[in-house]
Amino acid sequence: MTDTNRDHRTDGGNAVDGDASPFDIVSEYEETEADKLRKLYDAYVYTPIAIIWTDWRARIGFTIMLGYVLMGVVGPTFVEQTEVLEGPALAAPFETMEYPLGTDNMGRDLLSQTIYSTNTILKMVAAGATSTVLIGTIVGSIAGYKGGMTDTVLSSITDVFINIPGFPLVMVLGLMFDDVLLGNPWAVGLLLSVAAWGGLARSIRSQVLTLRQESFVESSRAMGLPTRTIVFKDIIPHLMPFVVINLTNAGRRVIFEAVALYYLGILPFQNLNWGSILNLAYGANAHTRLAALHWFLVPMVAIVVISIGLILLGQSLDRVFNPRVRARHEKTTAEVDDEVEDGHTVGGL
């Protein structure tokens, strides 16, 4: 702001040399395709990663998630699927290298079970989180931008989905479509998103209500661009920070609910997942004897750690987009920025 030499005009623009109109000026530099690609890479890949990497939360969160992805994607090719009577029943964890996490009451290796479960769970998360966020964003931004009758209809539908208790609805639907859901983690993810998109749609809508007044949206409208273009090209890019952060929340929710459904035995299972391991442990009365405690603890730790990873990731992604998030939320941005230089996340969840 102090660099007054460059800002000659009152609107902050630069004065143009001579009498040439600003529209006649040709850029001094020529941009090649490679330059464009490098710029895109800088803006969308390098800078975000560089910012994220300065934050301890992000380093932990990324490492955890990378670990799970490796475990789920590469793990199954290295570790064999376990079989009944493979080892001694209820071997304690951390005692032999053969069964690092112990075995269950039928002698099945828990490490192998956990690795194969990760694969299933990651598929559910991918399907569930993506579809939740997609439905929520599209419904919310169309309702907010169009207004009028469209808004009334979409908002009423959203309200119904917010008010209906998600878990009981998913339970009932899960029971009815159990043949589709058997052995199909992608479908389970989709099912879980049915009850989850409402809250996101509502908050996206209220953010769009402020965005639609902005001049760049107004000019697009004046140019006669179709609604589709305005919503997807003008409005949604501005919501990306919020949307990305919600992706991690949606993922966490999918994990929690899927595991609960399998733990209760509402959904039948072919492929193991953490919930079905808990279900088997509960069915074998592992909760009444302390010797079988690790049977519960192994899947529980897997759930808690991946969830910590997702929360930390979400909080640090918040930081990548922080200049905007802060400016929107704080009145005294400039002053506070100096005080909170190390950038504590604002509005973590």
């Binding site: 208790p165 998600g166 209760l264 302390l290 909170v340 604002v346 509005g347």
Partner: protein
């Protein structure tokens, strides 16, 4: 002039409240319709599978028709619009059909279970928000200090533990290997009444489910922290500090009052989530509330009880939200009107 303004203001308020009630009615209608669609319309519908199961048990078509009519309150031979109208009227009159497994009206079963669920829920909501708000306000006030960092990590960890995981651990360590009862909702062999033995027994049975639900408070305090930080930039806080007011007074009277308000949506949504969570928790602790019966109905393929449980849970949440919303405008005079939605 003031009179005219207040008249207009009252009109806007009434309009908003009527709209809010209309929205509630709409949701209840949508849920009843959804349940009818699941029972009657879907391919491989519930009614179809009940009919074929009864046919396998050797009932003749007339008996099947009668049984289905009394259990699901849907006459299989009626055309769909007529069946839908009858179903809706029955639901509104409180006739939810008859349970197959327990062989008694669904309404009776659910009416006995509902108070127990509400008992656990209301304590859980009350305690978790009290803790969440108090801790969150302090955290935000000491932003960046050691306590804040410690508490934030604590909240991240707590937020990562699903309530049912905590419930299973509590069940193992405090019930099976500890002093608390592992199942049931009231002490065995004690006459119900206002006696110390009975009341303390009830609290003992409800304690573990309530503690499991408190996990939500970790999440609540994080939200509170974000809101508090926004409030912290305000000038009146600087003035309050300059006046030398104590930290406690500033955080409770100045920060929290203003930061609690936006928490309201979180609060509303969490009531619904806690209700949903009660299904799992009541199963873990074998606590015979609404969720327990919904789960047992799912297990027994007792469709009338399942649909009834689903509709009753939804209606309970919708009414709770309505009451909360209508009373909220008393707490925050700015609420209501146009701005009602956006927070």
């Amino acid at each position: 002039m003031a009179g005219k303004e207040s008249v207009i203001h009252t009109m806007v308020t009434i309009d908003w409240r009527i709209r809010r009630i209309g929205q509630t009615v709409f949701t209840v209608w949508a849920v009843i319709t959804l349940s009818f669609a699941l029972v009657r319309l879907m391919p491989g519908s519930i009614m179809g599978s009940m009919v074929s199961r009864l046919a396998q048990q050797g009932y003749n078509p007339a008996q099947i028709r009668e049984l289905i009519d009394s259990r699901l309150t849907i006459d299989p031979d009626q055309p769909i619009p007529a069946a839908y109208a009858e179903y809706t009227i029955n639901m509104l009159q409180g006739n939810l059909g008859e349970s197959v497994y327990y062989a008694e009206p669904v309404v009776d079963i659910l009416a006995r279970a509902l108070p127990w669920t509400l008992f656990v829920l209301s304590w859980a909501v009350f305690i978790s928000f009290f803790i969440g708000i108090a801790v969150g306000a302090l955290m935000a006030y000491w932003e960046g200090g050691k306590l804040d960092v410690g508490l934030t990590s604590y909240a991240v960890v707590i937020g990562s533990i699903p309530y049912y995981v905590l419930a299973i651990l509590l069940l193992i360590f405090l019930a099976y290997h500890g002093p608390f009862p592992s199942s049931g909702r009231q002490p065995a062999g004690v006459e119900p009444g206002f006696t110390w033995v009975y009341i303390s027994g009830i609290i003992e049975h409800a304690a573990l489910p309530i503690i499991s639900m408190l996990v939500a408070s970790g999440v609540a305090s994080l939200g509170m922290r974000g809101n508090s930080i926004r409030v912290l930039g305000e000038d009146y806080l600087r003035v309050a500090r300059l006046r030398g007011l104590s930290d406690i007074r500033i955080s409770t009277q100045y920060v929290s009052r203003n930061a609690i308000l936006p928490m309201y949506t979180t609060f509303l949504i969490s009531i619904g989530e806690m209700f949903g969570g009660s299904v799992v928790l009541e199963q873990v602790f074998q606590y015979r509330g609404l969720g327990f019966y919904l789960f047992s109905a799912l297990n027994q393929r007792d469709y009338p009880l399942m649909m009834g449980g689903f509709v009753v849970i939804t209606v309970a949440i919708v009414i709770a939200l309505l009451i909360a919303d209508l009373t909220y405008s008393l707490v925050d005079p700015r609420a209501g009107g146009q701005n009602n939605e956006s927070y």
